[in-house]
Symmetry: C2
Subunit: 145 residues, 2 copies
Amino acid sequence: MKKENLSNTHNDIKKLLKKHNLKMTPQRAAIYNEIVGSKEHPATVKIFKKVREVFPNISFDTVNRTLSTFVDIGLIKSVEYSGESRRFDPNTKKHHHFICVKCGRIIDFESREFDNLNIPEDIKKRYEVLEYKVTIEGICDRCKK
Amino acid sequence: MKKENLSNTHNDIKKLLKKHNLKMTPQRAAIYNEIVGSKEHPATVKIFKKVREVFPNISFDTVNRTLSTFVDIGLIKSVEYSGESRRFDPNTKKHHHFICVKCGRIIDFESREFDNLNIPEDIKKRYEVLEYKVTIEGICDRCKK
DNA sequence: CTACAATTAGGAATCATTCTTATTTAAGAT
DNA sequence: ATCTTAAATAAGAATGATTCCTAATTGTAG
Ligand SMILES: [Mn+2]
Ligand SMILES: [Mn+2]
Ligand SMILES: [Zn+2]
Ligand SMILES: [Zn+2]
């Protein structure tokens, strides 16, 4: 196994940070490592607890602020769902969400159709469209019992 | 002008409350009157301030709890957008939202196409779908300067 | 009118997020 | 390797939204 394989993600994030005049720090690396593989769209507190296992002194603020920074530079995304804490998504490719109204689980799904909707003309004319997504609400398999 | 016209909304909400074994109260009527015509998807605090002009002693808790009750019985809807306070929508007909990422304005729009999307088969198979909507993010006319 | 259960006001508590400040650190320059 | 300096961090306070608690009030059935 080559050395590069072990430091790939580290170099990737470092490059992106540099592009935005931000420094690479061990805290940022640890936070990135924690979220990059996750599929559950974790909230800050969840990431905080995990990172604490490696960095016993890291503060909640640092984790939360770092996640906001990552969103700002496009490394991750923030998932919209009101009434709860912010949740984060390492998957920045276009995709859509099924949200369980019982347990709050957020599940990714893909759809060619949904990826290519025709934004209404009057919306495109009046506003600047950045992105769009389809959100399905319902009850997940686990909660259906 | 007939008497029924003046008490129509009052009777409507009373009927719906009764169906859910809830009592009609002056506070609930005032809160309903405040949100029913609004197009701005107001947050609790906005509704609270308005209702206070009529009911100087009403508590924030009552307004907030009542709005939750209204959502529960389907009188209004809660609008999803994380990182901010809950916002409410008196429009329960199927429609979609444009959200301005700069000022947080939430704007309704209609689309026959968006109202009739084909939910992916594997989603329908695995989960119980209750509803779905398209959310467009972008920059509104005001914020474009 | 009376009794009972639901609803409310007010304040405390909780939870997420942001701010403040002193200290530490990353990274470019020597 | 050391110095320099702006950026980043830890810790705790502050803020904001929401929920909880409890005693008092109110709506409605009988
Ligand atoms: Mn996702
Ligand atoms: Mn709406
Ligand atoms: Zn579920
Ligand atoms: Zn705007």
